[in-house]
């Protein structure tokens, strides 16, 4: 069941334990003029709780896009990915794996687990801004949100 509502700013969930990284992503999106609202969880368990609206996340919105790091405390990015894609209500949300790793194994595993895209973390701000614009084009078109 697809909802095609809102021209409101896209809700983006960033799952990353590195605050420094999270902030840079947010700033890069801002620099790139991408209107979006960010939510951040710092480990895998929190991320799933957010998506399932459990505990403190009972009022959380359903995100239009998930930016998922692979190396997370408690529950790894792969486990989070697997659980999202295993749940009927969550699997339509696009998950973009954003990782420093470029190892072939990591890339293949992520796609096997139904990641929508695997993107290496850009090494500079310009690259990050470009990435934001690309993601906006691909998944944050207000008319075509699948989340």
């Amino acid at each position: 069941m697809c909802d095609y509502p809102s021209s409101a700013p896209a809700e983006i969930l960033i799952v990353d334990d590195n605050a420094c990284d999270v902030r840079l992503i947010k700033e890069a999106f801002r620099e790139g003029g991408i209107a979006s609202k960010f939510h951040v969880t710092r480990d895998g368990e929190q991320a799933l709780a957010f998506l399932r609206r459990e505990g403190p996340y009972s009022g959380s919105p359903r995100p239009s896009l998930i930016l998922l790091d692979l190396n997370l405390p408690r529950k790894s990015g792969r486990e989070v990915l697997a659980e999202i894609k295993a749940e009927q209500s969550l699997r339509r949300i696009p998950v973009v794996v954003l990782s420093a790793s470029t190892s072939r194994e990591d890339v293949c595993r992520a796609y096997e687990l139904q990641a929508n895209c695997y993107v290496p973390k850009p090494s500079d701000l310009a690259g990050l801004i470009d990435l934001g614009r690309l993601l906006q084009k691909l998944w944050l078109n207000p008319a075509l949100l699948s989340g």
Binding site: N18, L24, E27, E31, A100, S123, D124, L125, A126, L128
Partner: protein, 522 residues
């Protein structure tokens, strides 16, 4: 029939009637004829006896004829005696006729054989010849005796020489009888084992072995004598030997055998290999140490590579933060900062950029050493092409002229080899000051390999530094003029060595450089 009866009849008057039956004449004739007959008869039998006993006698035919002739003469004499009292003249005539035939034949034969008979040497001649022969035989016997003595002397002197050789031999030598007793030893055995030879001759060979091996050696020895064969010295022929004073030392023994009067004799050649063993032990210890340190080194190397890879990887994260936020500062706040602050930020950006390059190079060096080689047959020209594509910007910026002569098909990892071309050409372009950079790539077939050369017209390298340029992080020019991490050539070296080739440089300052590398043919 009647004729024959009359012919052989005795009806004629007997001969005695001619003698008027005078008793004295009758008997004189009869006895004389009888004696003549007897003598005649004795001659042929004697001749036949001689012929029988001396088969080698010549003129046998003639002698046979003589015998027959004399025999018939005797017979006619006998008939004459008969006819003194009887008158059988027919028979007498017949016998005379036979005698006549035989005598004529014998006479003819004698005449014909006369020249042959004359050629038969006389007994004197034979005697002389015999004496001559005897003389010759004596001379020959004397000569033979001389020869024998000379041979014996030669044998004795060669035996003496052989013995002196055996005594002077660097190896111990011993002969052992089938009963296991020592028959002979040389001087070297005495020296090695500390026995005098009188103490060894007649002893069981086991006296030369440590007690613990004696029992089994007796069995081995018996096996050897049952089925003797030559056994060379060499690996597996090492034994422990025991000196008179009870000390032991390692020996190497070669065995052969020879037939003797009382069965096979075993011949042993013995080498004292104490020194060699010591060297071998040292060598194998050194070898083991080398292997151990090689393993340690390999492990350390692997750990280092892993460390380099991990460290570089993990360093990229914080570096990304540094450059990211510096970028952000520049983008968003450059207007609000004074020129000093902007300059500081610029230096920080440059530093982080250099570090980023450094990490990238360390990672690529690590990958060049660890990435599995995927070799295939490929045109070197094609590999060069992809290297040049990566260098497009640098080439057009410096207006570099890159040329290549016909490059061969080779077997190599295309990605890694492209990196070699790329690094060498990038260096060639980078290390040129004022002129248009000119780089020429060529290849030449050598024995079992291709020799590639990358020639430039750059600043060149002092021959003293020809080795150093291939070391990691080694930069001959630390100035800002030629920036770089000093990893490029180390990467090239690593890649070429992994292909089983070599890389080196020929250069002189101001003369340009020629980097050579080889790639083995399949």
């Amino acid at each position: 029939m009647d004729f024959f009866r009359q012919f052989f009849s005795s009806d004629y008057p007997p001969q005695a009637s001619c003698y008027m039956w005078r008793t004295d004449i009758v008997w004189l004739n009869a006895i004389s004829d009888a004696l003549v007959a007897l003598a005649y008869y004795s001659i042929p039998f004697t001749l036949l006896y001689i012929l029988h006993r001396r088969p080698s006698l010549r003129l046998r035919g003639l002698m046979g004829m003589f015998a027959a002739f004399i025999l018939s003469c005797g017979t006619s004499r006998l008939i004459s005696v008969w006819n003194v009292w009887h008158g059988t003249y027919g028979l007498e005539g017949l016998v005379k006729a036979v005698t006549a035939v035989l005598s004529i034949a014998t006479a003819i034969m004698t005449v014909k054989l006369a020249p042959v008979a004359l050629r038969i040497p006389s007994p004197e001649e034979l005697e002389r010849a015999n004496e001559h022969l005897l003389g010759e035989m004596r001379a020959r016997a004397e000569a033979e005796e001389k020869l024998r003595k000379a041979a014996e002397a030669a044998r004795l002197s060669s035996e003496a020489r052989m013995r002196s050789f055996l005594e002077a031999a660097a190896q111990g030598f011993l002969a052992i009888g089938a009963d296991g007793r020592i028959l002979l030893v040389n001087r070297r055995i005495e020296e090695m084992f500390g026995y005098r030879r009188e103490e060894l001759i007649g002893q069981d060979v086991e006296i030369l072995l440590p007690e613990r091996y004696r029992g089994s050696h007796v069995l081995h020895r018996r096996e050897f004598f049952q089925e003797p064969r030559i056994r060379d010295m060499g690996p597996g022929m090492d034994l422990a030997a025991r000196r008179k004073d009870g000390t032991e030392f390692p020996v190497e023994v070669g065995l052969s055998y020879t037939p003797g009067e009382n069965g096979v004799i075993a011949l042993g050649v013995v080498n004292d290999i104490t020194e060699r063993k010591r060297h071998e032990d040292q060598l194998s210890r050194a070898h083991a140490e080398l292997r151990a340190s090689e393993a340690t080194l390999r492990r350390a190397n692997a750990e280092l590579e892993q460390f380099a890879s991990l460290a570089s990887h993990d360093m990229q994260e914080p570096l990304r933060m540094i450059t990211g936020y510096l970028d952000l500062l520049q983008r968003r706040y450059a207007d609000q900062l004074d020129p000093d602050a902007r300059e500081f930020i610029r230096y920080a950006v440059e530093g982080s950029q250099r570090m980023k390059n450094l990490i990238r190079d360390v990672l690529s060096l690590s990958r060049a050493g660890t990435r599995p080689l995927s070799k295939r047959r490929i045109a070197a020209q094609e590999v060069l092409g992809s290297a040049l594509a990566n260098l497009n910007t640098a080439i057009s910026e410096r207006r570099a002229v890159i040329t290549a002569s016909d490059l061969p098909q080779i077997v190599a990892d295309p990605g890694l080899l492209a990196q070699v071309f790329q690094n060498l050409i990038a260096n060639a372009i980078k290390f040129t000051r004022n002129e248009t950079p000119r780089v020429h790539i060529s290849a030449e077939r050598r024995a079992g390999e291709w020799l590639f050369s990358v020639r430039d017209n750059g600043i060149g390298i002092d021959p003293a530094h020809r080795e150093r340029v291939f070391r990691i992080f080694e930069r001959l020019d630390a100035s800002e003029e030629f920036p770089g991490s000093g990893v490029g050539l180390a990467i090239c070296q690593k890649i070429i060595e992994r292909h089983g080739g070599r890389i080196w440089v020929d250069s002189a300052p101001g003369q340009g450089s020629v980097f050579h590398f080889t790639i083995p043919e399949d």
